[in-house]
Amino acid sequence: MAFDAVLFYLFAALAVGASLLVIGQRNPVYSVLLLIASFAALAGLYVLLDAPFAAVTQMIVYAGAIMVLFLFVVMLLNVPREDAAEWDRSHPLNRPGAMRFGAVLAGLLLLELSWAVWHVSTRQPMALSETSPGSVASVAAIGRSIFTDYAFPFEATSVLILVAMVGAVILARRGQGLE
């Protein structure tokens, strides 16, 4: 089981590192690509959690479709690298007093978050139950659940996708709107 632990830490480090870089660096195309790397790490974590279908669906839907859409938009709009605009410098919250207060609050939040994580991890750990993979992970079981227990949400998401398609086409259309 040590191999599992190594893989978990590897994927976790990749996911967290890539997400930090997504919000931390300035080039939007790199942000999109780093987010794809983060999604791939999460897909690896799903496989470790005995959910191969979720992992593959994550790659197909998120990394293969949604991120392609983001990439297209970034490339077509030729999004420039971000830099502080001049209204940033004259913003009332940019004064030193406000900055210090903000830094204090951020420090408190960081302390609280690390306390929570540490406290949770030193308690009685809930070990991941050793289920036989076939019972939880089989695609047939997922399909059966979707089409029986969750049949209404399934149909509702199909209506949602239709609405999103129509909305996206209309919103992004050039021209004066509805004629």
Binding site: V29, L33, I36, P52, F53, V56, T57, M59, I60, A63, G64, A65, V68, L71, F72, M75, L76, A137, S138, V139
Partner: protein
């Protein structure tokens, strides 16, 4: 030799063999393309280098190897180099889950049969689909990072074409899944064993292509569009007229893109062989000949790919997109519905 599992050795050997076989197959496809093109155009093709020009691809690789590696000054340094790597990587990755022979014991060397593919994944079909979605990124990034108008347009067009045809590809796959009742390619091939009998005489093998002719047509068409081959290669042919996503690439990066294209072709044909043409099953012959038979079917599909390229004129871009969205996608959805109805009511 205390505890080295022979199965482990076989698995490592499989990885090595599959990788080199794919490289060799790409080289073979380069040769075959030039020969087939030549014969279709009533000329000879490469004949000087090696017997019947068989060493021509290696000469090409040597030439490309010695060319200078250029990078436009305004191109994005990291992405320009990563893009062909992504293309080639996804092409090889997709073949990892494709089985190419029956589980074999290598003439009794092992005690239990080992299935002949690199990775044993229960959701193999979806993995192929996922990796195909990843292949779009190589092209988009190549087009964008070259920092040139024509590359960008070619890259965006090509990737829009690929994601449009992925839908029909997926629907055709879904119809086969309904028939085979499993997501694993190994199971799908095994579901095609045996023959249909008419009055006690075996008349046709139980291949899915006979049950799903439309599905096969949709799958192959979408596969050809996915790999950007003729007659759907407008984004690529733009480079004969203007430029495409790999204009600014030279020497080994260019070679990587073409390697990716040929390996993608091989993967699509291999998946089609397993899903529709029955894989390696041929009842009267011994099991271990299955690989040869599989390879013959694969070669037929690849020849078909080449034949199409040099026979048909290419689609214009808007015709191509219309064909994908307005004809192929509804056809594949109807195919799925009819297949599902058939399985429910007639128990196919």
């Amino acid at each position: 030799m205390p505890a080295i599992d022979p199965v482990f050795i076989v698995q490592i050997a499989l990885i090595v063999v599959v990788f080199h076989a794919l490289l060799l197959s790409a080289a073979g496809m380069v040769w075959a393309e030039r020969k087939v093109a030549a014969r279709l155009q009533q000329r000879f093709g490469p004949t000087l280098v090696g017997p019947a020009g068989l060493l021509q691809p290696f000469a090409d690789v040597l030439k490309l190897f010695f060319k200078e590696e250029l990078r436009p000054k305004a191109a994005d340094k990291i992405l320009f180099h990563i893009a062909p790597i992504i293309s080639a990587m996804t092409a090889f990755l997709a073949f990892c889950v494709v089985p190419f022979g029956p589980p074999s014991t290598f003439f009794g060397l092992l005690d239990k049969p080992v299935p002949l593919y690199v990775a044993d994944v229960p959701v193999a079909v979806l993995v192929i689909f996922a990796v195909a979605s990843m292949g779009v990124y190589g092209i988009v990034l190549a087009g964008w990072s070259s920092n040139s108008k024509y590359s960008l347009l070619g890259g965006l067009r090509s990737s829009a074409q690929m994601i449009s045809y992925e839908l029909s590809y997926g629907m055709a796959l879904a119809a086969v899944l309904v028939l085979a009742n499993s997501l694993s390619l190994q199971e799908t091939v095994n579901a095609q064993a045996g023959y249909w009998h008419l009055f006690g005489v075996p008349v046709a093998p139980r291949w899915f292509v006979f049950v799903q002719p439309i599905g096969f047509f949709v799958f192959m068409t979408a596969g050809i569009a996915e790999t950007n081959r003729a007659p759907f290669d407008f984004p690529e042919a733009e480079q004969e007229l203007v430029a495409g996503y790999h204009t600014e690439y030279s020497s080994m990066s260019f070679a990587l893109f073409f390697l990716a294209e040929y390996v993608n072709m091989v993967t699509v044909s291999a998946v089609a062989t397993n899903l529709y043409l029955g894989g390696w099953h041929l009842q009267p012959l011994p099991e271990w000949l299955g690989i040869v038979w599989w390879f013959l079917k694969l070669s037929t599909l690849l020849f078909f790919y080449l034949w199409l390229r040099w026979t048909l004129p290419r689609y214009r871009y808007d015709q191509l997109m219309q064909f994908g969205w307005k004809f192929l996608l509804p056809l594949s959805v109807v195919n799925l519905l009819v297949t599902a109805a058939g399985v429910l009511y007639f128990g196919l």
